[in-house]
Amino acid sequence: MAAQSAQPKWTELAAGTAITVPGSARFNRTGDWRSVRPVWDHAKCIRCGVCVVYCPEGCIGWNAQGYPDADLEYCKGCGICVRECWTACIRQVEEEV
């Protein structure tokens, strides 16, 4: 099933209700849930990658300068990276409404 509509008829479901589109979780833009976002202090960051590993969304990657950065399309602002960071270089900044 190439395009799974939001409200498929029973005849339109894949066998066993499988999800046949790989990586379809990315269609769910969890960044909408965010009220705070992580900001890295590059002066303190040692680029250890702990935040990359711990991010439950898998949305922290490496930017062009070689520092970790969150993809704000998916970052839910959960704060786990802030909690886990060894050097306490990440802080939460309120999103403007």
Partner: protein
């Protein structure tokens, strides 16, 4: 324990061993099972033939039946031909995962050596284990002897893996009454089985090169549709069941039908059995026919999906039908088979009188005398035009 295993002619073989040999003939890739009486000899024999290199399969010794069925789901989803076997408490422990296997359309084959559920602890035969899993969405069949146990196990893979079906299949055979009996069984030759059962090509599989997700959440907006789709596939398996039994008959010469009868054509009083009691019941039919009584037997081979039309046809002309249940639906209408049968006939204008018996619980022997008494009582009920309340046969009171 058995004599040498030869294809093509009847050899004395324990029924459990015959089922293990069926899994071997089906060339299964995975056996994940936990031993439990009276299923143990199946997994012992499979473990042995895998260890001896006679079957190129992975034998996965798990720590429980819950794990066994979980492993089966994983391996079947990965595209491996998967077999397991269990009984009683083991089936109960699998309960949760049985529903997942069917919902995910995983063509696992499982032999169930039917045994009573605890308590009190009882390792002997009845059907309370399978009845507690009646609604798990599996295709469920019953065997009456060793040959049928072997045949239906081989056939189960063919049906399960049919892409129109792709559902798990449970082959029920009575614990001890069948599982521990050495009797004549004819093993088909491997080549004929290979032709009947082509290599497993799954409907879908977990594959890193073509990723998909099996078993995601089904929110309220999807769950109803998912259940309808699952129900329809099970109902629609009826056609492929008849078709694959036809193919089986062509390949092996033995015929299976969803409902099978014995001397039933002109019978006024019929008896309905499921599983190993059928053969003894046939002998009792012969005894009563010899005395000129118009009696016959109806045996339900296919329990799920229930063969409503064939069943209605089989009992259409009789005056009274004795239904033998091997389990109790506590606080309900007594026997699960009888309540099914009554529901099947509810809308029909001409319904036979139904007389319900619960027999052979927890290994209680059902003797010829018991069968004769049940037939006498059913005939008396037919004469009176009124069915007595359901009765537990052999109960001391």
């Amino acid at each position: 324990m058995s004599g040498p295993i030869v294809a093509g002619k009847p050899v004395g073989m324990e029924v459990s061993i015959a089922i293990a040999e069926a899994a071997k003939l089906a060339d299964v890739d995975i056996v994940a099972a936990y031993p439990i009486t009276p299923q143990t000899h199946i997994v012992e024999h499979l473990a042995e033939i895998v260890a001896d290199g006679d079957l190129d399969a992975e034998f996965i010794p798990v720590e429980s039946e819950h794990s066994a069925m979980s492993v089966c789901c994983g391996t079947s989803a990965a595209g491996a031909r998967t077999f397991t076997a269990t009984s009683s408490q083991g089936l109960a422990l699998m309960h949760e995962i049985l529903f997942i296997a069917s919902a995910l359309r995983l063509p696992i084959v499982m032999a169930v050596a039917n045994r009573a559920l605890s308590g009190p602890i009882n390792i002997w035969n009845d059907h309370s284990d399978v009845m507690a899993n009646r609604d798990a969405g599996w295709v469920q069949v019953f065997a009456e002897n060793g040959q049928e146990s072997l045949d239906l196990t081989i056939w189960a893979f063919r049906l399960a893996e049919d892409k129109r079906v792709s559902l798990p299949v449970m082959v029920n055979f009575d614990g001890f009454m069948l599982s521990h009996v050495v009797e004549p069984v004819t093993l088909p030759d491997a080549e004929t089985v290979r032709k009947f059962l082509p290599p497993f090509e799954p409907l879908q599989r977990l594959d890193v090169d073509a990723p998909r997700s099996l078993g995601p959440v089904g929110i309220p907006d999807i769950y109803t549709e998912a259940k309808k789709a699952q129900l329809q596939v099970l109902l629609d398996s009826y056609g492929p069941i008849l078709e694959t039994w036809g193919a089986f008959e062509k390949a092996f010469g033995r015929r299976y039908r969803p409902v099978e009868t014995y001397r039933a054509d002109d019978a006024e009083i019929l008896m309905l059995t499921m599983g190993g009691l059928g053969e003894t019941a046939m002998s009792v039919v012969d005894e009563r026919r010899a005395k000129g009584e118009k009696v016959g037997l109806v045996r339900i081979r296919l329990w799920r999906p229930f063969p409503f039309d064939e069943f209605r046809k089989a009992v259409a002309k009789c005056k009274a039908l004795a239904v033998l249940d091997r389990a109790i639906s506590f606080g309900g209408p007594m026997g699960p088979v009888a309540s099914e049968v009554k529901a099947a006939l509810y809308a029909d204008a001409h319904r036979p009188l139904i007389v319900e018996f619960v027999v052979g619980l927890g290994g209680r022997d059902v003797t010829f005398a018991d069968f004769h008494r049940m037939w006498d009582e059913t005939a008396a009920a037919a004469r009176a035009g009124k069915a007595p309340a359901p009765r537990m046969v052999g109960l001391r009171e």
